[in-house]
Structures are given as structure tokens and as C-alpha cells.
């Protein structure tokens, strides 16, 4: 009986595994087909020959390089800013003593409950008023920090014994020296996790850039992809190639850092 259960469950798992991975495989394969192959009935699984030219066509039809550079720049800046601001804030909350600390903590936790979608439109308003639409600033500004990561890092730092800070203070280190030489090296795993997850989330962002940019010069990869899709109508093979382009960098990062990424999400239920 147990063997049957095991067999069935493994079958179940394999089936669902295929269902999960297949779209990615097909994305890559479909992006290498000709239009006819991509829309053939019955569907083609493996193209006759790999149409690398599709990628060239995609780059010709839409400035994907520009999109890529924009996304890289915005994601890097956002990640750096978020990691730093969250780290400093978490340092203050976890290590220093000051009045009203509890007020700040409680305030932050209650703010966590506000759905991003409710403030996104008013932020658009703010950015518009400042005349910052269609700029890198607009894409970066609202995301200079993350309340969630402040909360996450504060908890993480709290688990690092206070005596390290006290020892450093007695040794004569200033706060910045402590942060640079002791805190950051000791919290590397958490910082790596926060950094990578912020980067991925920034890379995949969609709604906000949709609101504040429509100039191709500042468009991000995800939005560029969706614009390309609507513009290219029925060129499915090109769309799939463009989609592959979009997810490729992240998939690469994922395969290199998947342990850190999975561990970071699993430990704290971080939702990007």
C-alpha cells in the first residue's frame, strides 16, 4: 500500500514539476521558432533550426537594450539605497537606546499593513506635481527604503548579541566604524538576501513604472515587454523571444544565488 502511495505521489510531483517548468522551456524554444512554427497546428515543440535572428529582430523593433540598461540602473540604485537605509534604520532600532523607540517600531509595523496599491496612485500625484514624470528619479524615489526590510533587518540584528556593539564601543569604535567593520560582515547573509530580493522585485516591477513612464527612453524591461507585445500583435515567436530576454538575467542570478534567495524567503515569508 505504501509503495502505491509513494508511486502515485512521485507521479503527481513529476506532473506538477513539468507543468511548472514547461512554460519556461517553451518560452525559450518558442523564441527560437519561425512564425509559422510558433503558430502551427499541431504545435511544434522543437524548432527545425534555432532562429537566433528573432532576437535581432526584437532589438530592432524595440529598444530593448535601453530598457535593459534602464532596468539595471534603477534596480541597482534601488537595491543599494534600500539596503543602506534599511540597515541604518535597523541598526538604530536594534542596537541603540532612545526614547520613542517603541513608538517608531509600532508605527512601522502598522504601516506594513497598508497595501502598496492604495498609495501608489497618490505617489503618482506627488511625482507628477514635482515634475518628475518620465525620469529615473520617479522610478527610484518611492523605493529608497522598504518598511518590510527595516522590520526584517531589525529582527535579524536583534538576534546578534548586543555585547558586540558594547565591546566595540569600549574598544573605541565610532558607530560608523562599528557598522562598517563589525555589523556588515556579521550580517552578510541577511544583507545578501535583502539585496537580491530587492533587486529581483525591482526588476520585475510593473505597475509603478507603468504609471510614471511612457517615454521609451525611460521605460523598464517589463513594461517594454508588454508594450512590445501589444505593438507586435501576432508575432508570437518574437514575443516569446522578448519574454526570454526579460527573464534571463533574473534566472541567471537565481541559479547562482538560489540558496540565499530561497532561504531568505523561507525564513521570513518575505513577499517581493
Amino acid at each position: 500500500m505504501k509503495k502505491i502511495v509513494t508511486l502515485l505521489s512521485l507521479l503527481f510531483l513529476t506532473l506538477l514539476g513539468i507543468i511548472t517548468v514547461f512554460p519556461f522551456i517553451y518560452m525559450i524554444l518558442g523564441g527560437l521558432m519561425t512564425y509559422r512554427e510558433a503558430t502551427s497546428i499541431p504545435p511544434t515543440v522543437i524548432p527545425d533550426s534555432f532562429q537566433w535572428v528573432n532576437y535581432l529582430t526584437v532589438f530592432e523593433k524595440a529598444p530593448f537594450i535601453q530598457y535593459f540598461i534602464n532596468t539595471l540602473f534603477v534596480s541597482l540604485v534601488t537595491t543599494l539605497a534600500t539596503v543602506l537605509t534599511s540597515l541604518f534604520a535597523a541598526f538604530a532600532l536594534a542596537t541603540l537606546e532612545f526614547r520613542y523607540k517603541k513608538v517608531v517600531m509600532v508605527g512601522l509595523i502598522s504601516l506594513l499593513m497598508i497595501p502598496y496599491e492604495s498609495i501608489i496612485f497618490t505617489n503618482y500625484n506627488t511625482i507628477a506635481r514635482l515634475g518628475l514624470l518620465n525620469s529615473y528619479t520617479a522610478l527610484i524615489l518611492p523605493f529608497l527604503t522598504s518598511i518590510f526590510y527595516i522590520y526584517y533587518l531589525t529582527n535579524y540584528l536583534k538576534s546578534i548579541s548586543r555585547s558586540f556593539y558594547q565591546a566595540a564601543k569600549i574598544d573605541g569604535a565610532s558607530d560608523m566604524e562599528y557598522i562598517k567593520k563589525i555589523l556588515i560582515p556579521m550580517s552578510k547573509p541577511a544583507l545578501v538576501t535583502v539585496g537580491i530580493l530587492t533587486f529581483i522585485s525591482s526588476w520585475n516591477s510593473f505597475l509603478w513604472p507603468l504609471l510614471v513612464t511612457n517615454d521609451k527612453k525611460f521605460r523598464l524591461l517589463n513594461n517594454g515587454l508588454s508594450a512590445f507585445t501589444s505593438e507586435s500583435g501576432s508575432d508570437v515567436h518574437l514575443q516569446l523571444a522578448a519574454a526570454t530576454l526579460t527573464i534571463l538575467p533574473i534566472v541567471l542570478i537565481y541559479f547562482i544565488f538560489r540558496k540565499e534567495i530561497i532561504r531568505g524567503v523561507a525564513k521570513n515569508g518575505i513577499k517581493g
Binding site: 518558442g30 505617489n123 507585445t229 526570454t244 534567495i261
Partner: protein, 295 residues
């Protein structure tokens, strides 16, 4: 020895470290909230607002499209979340109990979480295509009728739900696997000594220990499902389904704000949505507490 004004228990320099973050939070998290509330009582354009009292709310509550949006959103949420959770639990269980190379499967099942929804949407559009899509081909292959997944008013929501389930599995599985790992092995050893079989172990030991994890997932997933937007956009190429048949709450808000140019109405809808999410979460916590007590 330098005499300064040092107090180990009230270190004012803490505020310097908090300043950058607090500033950003105030401008982009706190202020917008109040502004949204304020704006919901205004009409006109962004540049030219006029006070409108509760007119926006009245308009909202008499708009059939809004109700359809809410209905769809609720239908989506209450279907996708439980199904995805149960499926994820099954998958996580198999990975944890029956498989040797756990991290391999974990890595595979996590992929949908890190990839852009838009990109995945393109593939799914491709799969679900009425004429050349793989899914219809497979259905025909097994002797089943073809389905008009993407262009039929009645099929929009089901297709969206399938897509939603597929994208929801990844996060759930990872969190559940972590939950499984946290259960102390001693519990299993003792149960096996008493001769319990797998199903009994699962129901009597695993499930109760996973309850906090499941609660957490239920809450997070529900909240996320109610805010669904990108999946709709991705699956239906920017539309809310054919003839707006897959209109959801955030889609409605976006529409009113950016397309129809009626920010006040959008803000009112936002607030209604926010309150809805809040009450559902609250309600759900209550029910789960009762279940927890009984169990």
C-alpha cells in the same frame, strides 16, 4: 577624559540613522494614505480638484462595473487561494517525505516566483490560444472539446484562475517546506512507534504543527489575491479580459485614475478595497482562532 553629554539610554544620534528611512516613509507611505483619503472626497482632475463630499462613494456604489470588479476579485480570491494552498501542501509534502533531492525540486518549483509575470503571461497566452495553443491541442488529443480560453466572456475568469493558481504555488511551497523542516523529528519517531500510518501522522501531527504556517499563508495569499492586477494585465494583454469580463478591483482603480481621469473616484474605490481587505483579514483571523481552539 572627555566629558560629553552621553546617556547610554537616550542616544539621540539614533535619529540620524533613522532619518533617511523615515523621510522616505513619510513622503511615500504616510502622506499618500492621508492624501488618498482626502482625495476620495474630491472630484475633477488632479490639477483641478473640487470638493465633492460623498459623491464619489455614491457613484461607486451605483456603478455595476465596480460591483463586477468586486465580484470577480472575490471569486478569484476565494477560489485560487484555497486550491493553490491545498495543491502546494500536497507538493510540499511529497517533496519533504518522498524525495531525496529536495533542494532540486525546491529550486524548480520556486521559479515562477522570481520571474516577471508579464513574461509568463506571454507564454500562457500562447498556451491558451484558441487555435494554435498547446492546451487545446492536448485536449483534442485526449478527445475532449476545444475551449475558447481567452476570447470568451464566460471563460475569462476560469482562465485567470488557472493562471493564478500556477503563479501562487511557488511561494506557498517554499514557505511550507520551511514549515515542514521546523517540525521536530521526535514527533514523527514517537508516532511511528505507536504504529501510526502516514495519513494519521499527517493529520494528527504534521497538520497541527503547520497551522501557524498555513494561517500565515492564507492571510498573505488572500491579501495578495484581492490586489490582483498584473496577472490580469499579463494574461489578457493589457485588457481586463474580453469585454472587461475579468475586471478586478485594482484594474478598476487604475482605469478610473489613469484612463478615465477621475482620481477622486479611484481613491474612493481604493479606500473601499482597503477596508474590504482589512475586514476579510480580520474575519479570517477570528475564524482561524476558533478553529485553532477547537483543534
Amino acid at each position: 577624559m572627555g566629558k560629553k553629554n552621553y546617556n547610554s539610554e537616550n542616544q539621540l544620534k539614533a535619529w540620524y540613522f533613522l532619518l533617511p528611512a523615515l523621510l522616505a516613509i513619510f513622503v511615500f507611505n504616510i502622506y499618500p494614505l492621508f492624501r488618498a483619503f482626502f482625495m476620495s472626497f474630491q472630484k475633477g482632475t488632479l490639477i483641478n480638484p473640487r470638493f465633492a463630499g460623498v459623491e464619489n462613494y455614491q457613484r461607486l456604489l451605483s456603478d455595476p462595473v465596480f460591483f463586477r470588479a468586486l465580484k470577480n476579485t472575490a471569486f478569484y480570491s476565494f477560489t485560487v487561494v484555497p486550491i493553490a494552498l491545498i495543491l502546494s501542501l500536497a507538493i510540499a509534502w511529497v517533496i519533504f517525505e518522498k524525495v531525496k533531492y529536495k533542494s532540486f525540486f525546491e529550486a524548480i518549483f520556486f521559479m515562477p516566483y522570481i520571474t516577471s509575470t508579464i513574461a509568463i503571461g506571454i507564454v500562457f497566452r500562447y498556451f491558451f490560444n484558441g487555435s494554435y495553443g498547446l492546451i487545446n491541442y492536448l485536449l483534442e488529443f485526449f478527445g475532449l472539446p476545444r475551449v475558447n480560453w481567452l476570447d470568451s466572456v464566460s471563460m475569462s475568469m476560469p482562465t485567470l484562475i488557472l493562471f493564478g493558481i500556477w503563479t501562487s504555488l511557488a511561494f506557498n511551497i517554499i514557505i511550507l517546506l520551511a514549515g515542514f523542516r521546523n517540525i521536530e523529528k521526535e514527533h514523527y519517531k514517537i508516532a511511528k512507534m505507536f504504529g501510526a500510518n502516514e495519513w494519521e501522522i499527517f493529520v494528527k501531527i504534521t497538520l497541527p504543527q503547520l497551522l501557524p504556517t498555513l494561517t500565515f499563508l492564507l492571510t498573505v495569499n488572500l491579501i495578495g489575491a484581492f490586489k490582483i492586477y498584473t496577472q490580469v494585465y499579463a494574461l489578457f494583454g493589457g485588457q481586463a479580459g474580453i469585454a472587461k469580463s475579468a475586471m478586478t478591483a485594482v484594474f478598476y482603480i487604475y482605469d478610473k485614475f489613469h484612463v478615465a481621469g477621475r482620481p477622486g473616484l479611484a481613491m474612493a474605490a481604493t479606500l473601499v478595497l482597503f477596508l474590504l481587505i482589512l475586514s476579510i483579514t480580520f474575519f479570517q483571523q477570528l475564524i482561524l482562532k476558533k478553529v485553532g481552539r477547537k483543534g
